[in-house]
């Protein structure tokens, strides 16, 4: 299969659509240009011509290869036109990311960037692209001249695909590339599905936001005393931390590190910080952004697949409700007759590390159902009969130790996290090394390989090139993260092909929507797809998953945001009254 080449296909269709895409809505298709790679036959169609067709003017079967750049955009047009999706897909965007993914910087990945990367001269430049986008966005009716211009521009993108294809796939791994193409079909279905939201309440909340803002600050700040009016006071926060005895990360300058990520991490260790974190995050984000909601009351956004270094999706945190503070997930709500179900793999990263390293003790710990407590047992720190109830403190410490290893923390960072002396943290980390010797041997081997060969690759070929200034911890964590992404992609493929309505993939989880009539069966099916995805990625080792169900009229509830949700809703209702 690795020798599969362009010659293996009877037809290779290079396809590009132009379309307008109002926020949260399915696309409005403007035109299509498709060219067959071998024969150079070409089709140019405008919206009215496409609307008359029940199927696309190119084959969709096994012998036809569909080639596009970010194919989910093209497929969204297929769905908008009621056309089926092709069987064989090669996405040159995904393959360009494969060709250029690196530990350093964040290489641009637009079509023009890909052409530039390979030194291919092309008629379109970024200025022209911008002009054409503006023209397309003006909407129909287009003049004949404009229509021709748009079609010509669309054709120039197809020509770019034609030039890129042999450059990108000359030595590429075809089967793995086609698997990525298959995922783009799943992406399209998921983006089309979107997440149902209570749009009226969200809209009301956003409209009231400027008015309730100061009340909200006053309410939340009662427990903190760190705001002066609507201004966050660092000195007051410093005083609060001292009073509470919380060790807070500092910047090299010595000041408190007040970054969003730091607040999120610290809120996990010190839950009392949670409401303040939610408040700061919401104040900052809701000032300039709002999730993109369609007229059918669904949150739709581009998943931006393969965009992160680990190959994970990287949707805009402003468009996706999941990108906002946890309390805002309360706006997600199934429609009557349906339920939202959040299903996540249990301790996914620990399970991946156990299986890929082949550490039997670690696999035993995962299989126990409570790897943290089992780790404490294996290390001899709690008796064999210990339970979560009998040894909650020890379990919490060993959990933090496991997470610290996953994050690549040293003793000093772990000590801060567990609020214990550094010697205690160092002892915990040494217990991890002793108990899971095979994992550490593998992890160090991964680092050796990466530094020697200058690259790493996941089970299904998502690579990373190691730059000049490699970060040891990121390299050692890469295979856990990137194979987690592979697993999620497979689960999404299996689920969407089985016609399960996936609303959104979320890091190590999926949010699905299921009819109440078949709720149990759908959850079971989704969990089986996730289990199968794990078995495939982990060579037979299976990861468990947990499902949390929110049937209509229940709204999605994230416990981390419950207090904030209740506070905001009280204020919104008061404002409405």
């Amino acid at each position: 299969m690795k020798t599969l080449s362009l010659k293996a296909y009877g037809e290779i269709w290079l396809v590009d659509f132009e379309f307008r895409s109002p926020p949260g809505e399915p696309p409005e298709v403007v035109c299509l240009v498709a060219r067959e790679y071998h024969t150079k036959q070409q089709v140019r169609l405008v919206a009215s011509e496409m609307a008359a067709l029940e199927e696309p003017p190119y084959g969709l079967g096994d012998d036809c290869l569909f080639v596009a750049y970010c194919a989910s955009a093209e497929f969204s047009c297929h769905l908008a036109l009621g056309w089926a999706l092709p069987t064989q897909v090669l996405d040159l965007f995904a393959e360009f990311r494969v060709a250029t993914n690196t530990t350093e910087g964040h290489p641009p990945a637009y079509l023009l960037d890909a052409l530039k990367h390979f030194g291919i001269n092309h008629s379109t430049d970024s200025v022209e692209k911008e002009l054409m986008c503006d023209l397309i966005m003006t909407g129909e009716p287009y003049s004949d001249k404009d229509q021709k211009q748009i079609l010509d521009y669309c054709e120039s993108n197809v020509v770019a695909l034609e030039l890129l294809l042999p450059r990108l796939m000359d030595e590429g791994n075809w089967p793995q590339a086609l698997l990525r193409g298959r995922y783009m079909k799943a992406v399209t279905q998921i983006e089309r599905n979107g997440t149902p939201v209570e749009a009226g309440l969200l809209s009301q909340t956003l409209e009231s936001w400027p008015d309730i803002r100061s009340h909200l600050i006053a309410l939340v700040d009662t427990d903190f005393g760190v705001y002066e009016g609507t201004t966050f006071k660092k000195a007051a926060f410093s005083h609060y931390l001292m009073k509470e005895g919380i060790a807070w990360p500092q910047l090299p300058s010595g000041g408190l590190d007040l970054k969003e990520g730091t607040f999120a991490d610290m809120a996990k260790i010190h839950p009392q910080i949670g409401p303040l974190h939610s408040l700061r995050s919401s104040l900052s984000k809701l000032r300039t952004a709002a999730p993109t909601i369609g007229t059918d009351e669904r949150n739709r956004f581009s998943l931006v697949p393969f965009r992160s270094r680990t190959g994970r999706n990287q949707p805009s945190s402003r468009e996706a409700l999941f990108g906002y503070s946890a309390w805002m997930r309360g706006f997600m709500k199934a429609t009557p007759g349906f339920a939202l179900v959040y299903i996540d793999w249990s301790q996914q990263e620990f399970g991946i590390a156990a299986a890929l390293s082949g550490d039997q003790a670690m696999m035993t710990a995962y299989a126990s159902g409570d790897p943290y407590l089992e780790f404490a047992r294996q290390a001899g720190s709690v008796p064999p009969e210990a339970t979560k109830q009998s040894h909650p403190d020890e379990r919490a410490l060993f959990k933090e130790c496991v997470l610290a290893v996953q994050y690549g923390m040293g003793a000093a960072s772990l000590a801060k996290r567990i609020d214990q002396p550094e010697s205690k943290a160092a002892h915990l980390l040494s217990l991890h090394r002793r108990t899971y010797g095979r994992f550490w041997e593998w992890s160090e081997g991964v680092l050796d390989y990466a530094l020697l060969e200058g690259k790493l690759k996941t089970t299904f070929g998502w690579p990373i090139q190691i730059g000049a200034k490699p970060n040891k911890r990121s390299i050692q964590n890469f295979l856990m993260q990137a194979n987690g992404a592979e697993m999620l992609r497979l689960a999404c493929i299996f689920a969407t092909e089985a016609e399960i309505k996936v609303c959104a993939p979320v890091h190590d989880a999926v949010l699905i929507e299921a009819s109440l009539d078949s709720l149990e069966a759908t959850i079971t099916a989704m969990q089986e797809h996730m289990a199968e995805a794990s078995r495939i990625v982990l060579n037979g080792f299976e990861l468990r998953s947990d499902a949390e169900c929110f049937p209509y009229p229940q709204r999605y509830a994230d416990p981390r945001g419950q207090t904030m949700w209740d506070t905001v809703m009280t204020l919104v209702n008061r404002e409405a009254a």
Binding site: A8, L178, G445, F460
Partner: protein
């Protein structure tokens, strides 16, 4: 192919011949049914061999055993020769029949035993003592050789001797700690209370190689050895 559309909508291209049709061989090319989940299941054995082998996800899965692929040879630190410390939990490497009886000469106090070659053992009887060389490992994964003291030939073994041997046998299957108890004139044996993980021994545990490494610069194979000369009062 929908040539109808091509001809109708793009007359300029109508002269271009249609793409070549697939022949039977093409139909069996391994791009059909690619990566279907069904291919993973045993029922897929009904498919033609070429198709079944080519299409399964497991076939295109990359190994993640980078530690093996790296081809790095880790030079293990020199194996120490020492008795287990009183705070050390250790395990011994079996079977006990493979433990090696040997003779050592002490070069001063502490863990300073020198191994005597078989060829000259009878010549240094007065200065040497018998030991059992036992490979051990501690909780940090460090391998060491324990030169377990034995009673001299013809002497009745003391409790110090028998208790350490008992400890070594106990440590074959248990994380063990020993400490000298002068009251009972023997070593007391303690077993770790936790359900500790099994030791991870090096891939190739060859006792003779370990001993050669451990005693590489602590080996007496001639009466001219400075330590023997010193013991004989020649220097």
């Amino acid at each position: 192919m929908k040539n109808l559309y091509l001809n109708n909508l793009n007359p300029l291209e109508s002269e271009i011949p249609p793409p070549p049709k697939c022949n039977d061989e093409d139909l069996h090319k391994p791009n059909s049914h690619l990566f279907r989940k069904e291919d993973m299941k045993e029922t897929s054995t009904e498919q033609p061999e070429s198709s079944k082998k080519a299409f399964s996800l497991t076939d295109i899965r990359n190994d993640q055993n980078f530690d093996k692929q790296a081809g790095i040879v880790h030079h293990t630190p020199k194996i120490e020769v020492k008795r287990p410390g009183k705070f050390t939990f250790f395990r011994t490497f079996g079977p006990k029949e493979n433990w090696i009886k040997a003779k050592v000469v002490d070069d001063g106090p502490g863990d300073n035993e020198l191994l005597v070659s078989n060829a000259i053992q009878h010549l240094v009887e007065d200065y040497s003592r018998p030991v059992l060389l036992i490979p051990c490992i501690d909780r940090q994964g460090r391998v060491f050789i324990w030169p377990l003291k034995m009673a001299k030939e013809g002497s009745f073994p003391m409790r110090w001797h028998t208790s350490t041997r008992e400890a070594a046998i106990h440590a074959l299957t248990n994380w063990t700690q020993i400490s000298a108890d002068k009251k009972i004139k023997a070593y007391s044996i303690k077993t770790a209370e936790g359900d500790l993980s099994e030791p991870v021994w090096p891939d190739r545990m060859d006792i003779e190689t370990l001993i050669q490494d451990a005693f590489a610069d602590k080996y007496i194979d001639s009466l001219d050895h400075p330590v023997i000369q010193q013991l004989r009062g020649l220097v």
